[in-house]
Structures are given as C-alpha cells and as structure tokens.
Symmetry: C2
Subunit: 208 residues, 2 copies
C-alpha cells in the first residue's frame, strides 16, 4: 500500500511527521514524501528541512494521502500544484486525509464539499466558507475522507486510521512502539481548557 | 538561545520533530539541526529524509541539546561523532536532553553517570549497564540533564522543559498552538496498559 505524505513550503513539521511515525510502520507500507519538485522544503520554523522522494507527477495513484497544515488557511487553499494533485488522485484513494489546516487544501480541491470535517481550532469557522460542515472533534471520518484537528491531532488521526486499515492489534502495536501514553504537563491543549487570555492571544497569531 | 537538534543515520523521526515542534516556537530560539556532515539523513523508516543545517563542528556551544533515539540502544551508544560532540558541548549547555534511546548516546558520553534517567520502555533495563539509574517515568529531570521515555514522550519532555525555560504561560501557549489535547483511540501506549501479547512482541522487535 502506497501512503503519500504531502509537503509544501512552510508546512508544520509535526503535522506530517506524527502521522508518518504511525502509518509508515504499518505492514507492507510504501511511504513516500511528495511535493511539487524534489527540492528541499523548509517547515514553518525554517530550520527544519525535508527532502521529498517524489514529485506530485511521479505519484499518480497513492492508496492513502496525508496533507499537513501550516500557517494561513487561505494560503494553504491556494497551493495550486497540491490542490490540483489532490483533485487528480482523490478518486482513486482508499483514504484522503489531512491534519490541521491541511483541510483547506482538501476543501479547495472540492473534496470536503458537503462533508463533515475538522481543522485547527483557531481556523475552524473558516471551513464553512468552502461548503464544509465544521465538526468540533479531534478526528472526523466522513466516508473515505479523514480530517484531524490541530498539529498533534495527526497522531490520533493516524492511529485511528491504522486501526481501520489493519485492525486494532496492529494499531495498538504501533502505539506501544511509539510509547504513546501522553502525559502533558499542562491542560492547555484545547480552547476549552486553556486560560482564556492564552486562547485569545493564540487565536490572533494562528487563526489567520 | 541556540537549541541544537541532533541527527544521525536511522534516527526516529518523531523523537526529534516532537521536541522541535515545541521548543522551536519558544521566544528568540535559534533552532539548528546538527549532524556529522551536511549530507541528508534518512530516518529509521527510510522514506523520511532531513537536511542538517550545521555539522557538529559548526555547533560548538549550544544552549540546549536534544538527542533523538533510534533502533538499537547499543548502536546509538556507538555513534562516535555524536558521542564525542556531546562530551565537548555538555559542560556548556543549560540543558542536555534525550528522547527514547537517545539516552544511550548521553550514557556513552558519560553524561548519565550516577544520574536518574529514562528511555524507551523496552530498553529500560539496559541503562543500568552504563552506571545510570533507570527511572520508570515519562520525563526525568536530574540537574540539567533531562530524559524522555519512548518516541512520543519527547513532546511531554519538551513542554515540561519549555515551562522551566520560559515559564508556564509560554509553554501553555505552545501546547495550545499545537492543539496538544491527546485522545489516543486505544490505551495501549504503555506496557502497563497494552495487551500482554502485544507487549511481548514489541519487546522482541524494539528492545534490541
């Protein structure tokens, strides 16, 4: 099974590496990082640079697609080569997935039309601009389209998908291999639990 | 503040990208990926390739060091250029940290002598071979040496460290930006909670 992990300039690194570190360990997975060209791409914090393994053209029929987010929901929706590639490959995928604002690339490709989906909490309301039904959940399945909430939600999205693709035992093995027994030192990971003034300030920075 | 994220062949991607996606968003952080040379390095699942930004030689005085794990605790301890660099830079760091089996590079450099430390659960007992006191906790502080348990524990380690470096509010802001409100679909992330036969099989694969 080929799983394509999309890259583009200023992607958020954990959005794509979280799902990679789950799904790439599945049975008989051919994992590939795809982008417009084979040039290195810098993450939104530019010190992190990754090398794609294939261009979008060289990846015409992936079984699963994972699209990460990055700053600026509108910018993500305007990534022409990514959006075009999603339009081409989505009809043939088993699952088309996104993490965080990656949902806006799916939305721009028409993949979320009338579907239920999630994204980073600070960009949630904007999904409706694309004819999508925003759902305030961490992982949302709607048919073969799977969306995860912000950044670290990609790990939960990928583990849930691993269970669907390969069964609970394989997914549990991957979880244990990753020692994914989270113990955050604060309860500030959601706008429901974080201090209100922190929610306000992050909304200004992230929700563009 | 310069934070150096170490890379070497067959590193585990989430071990280093988890802490990066926390610490690189701190105030006035100069994040740099360092390795023996500037050549691209493949993760343990080889489709993921990263480009270092500096060689070990070009990074003589980092304020914080983060060392990821990878398969094979003995192999990690034998990464000569990494271990030598850790010996050189550790006396000048504010914090020297590891995730997962990255602890074995610190151990080989003598940094864990007589200290309390953690690592991936399946490699825990081997820490004692290096004169280290294995502690069954997800994040362990011993003076300026900070170790995290397996793979995804790097996120918790880095958030805890962010709180120490920059205060609770900055750490909470980073947590909220990452929407780190984990909701694993299974309770299999620890050998205490995973089904025993899964613990057994992962121990065979990972605990080498």
């Amino acid at each position: 099974m080929q799983i394509a992990f999309a890259l583009y300039p200023a992607f958020t690194a954990l959005d794509i590496v979280g799902p990679f570190n789950v799904l790439a360990y599945g049975p008989d997975v051919d994992a590939v990082f795809v982008a417009e060209s084979l040039e290195p791409l810098s993450a939104d914090v530019g010190a992190l640079r990754m090398l794609p393994g294939a261009t979008f053209e060289q990846c015409p029929a992936p079984d699963v697609v994972v699209v990460p987010g990055g700053p600026g929901s509108r910018r993500i929706a305007e990534l022409g080569s990514l959006v075009e590639w999603l339009r081409r490959v989505h009809p043939g995928t088993q699952y088309t997935t996104s993490v965080c604002t990656g949902a806006f690339a799916l939305a721009a490709a028409g993949i979320l039309d009338g579907r239920r989906a999630t994204t980073h909490w600070a960009s949630h309301d904007r999904l409706a601009d694309y004819g999508t039904i925003p759902v305030d959940e961490r992982v949302v399945f709607d048919g073969k389209v799977v969306t995860g909430a912000g950044v670290s939600a990609g790990i939960d999205m990928a583990l849930t998908l691993a269970g669907v693709l390969w069964g609970d035992e394989v997914a549990q093995s991957i979880q244990l291999g990753n020692e994914y027994d989270p113990q955050p030192p604060y309860s500030a990971g959601s706008p429901r639990t974080a201090p209100p003034h922190i929610v306000h300030s992050i909304r200004q920075v992230v929700g563009a």
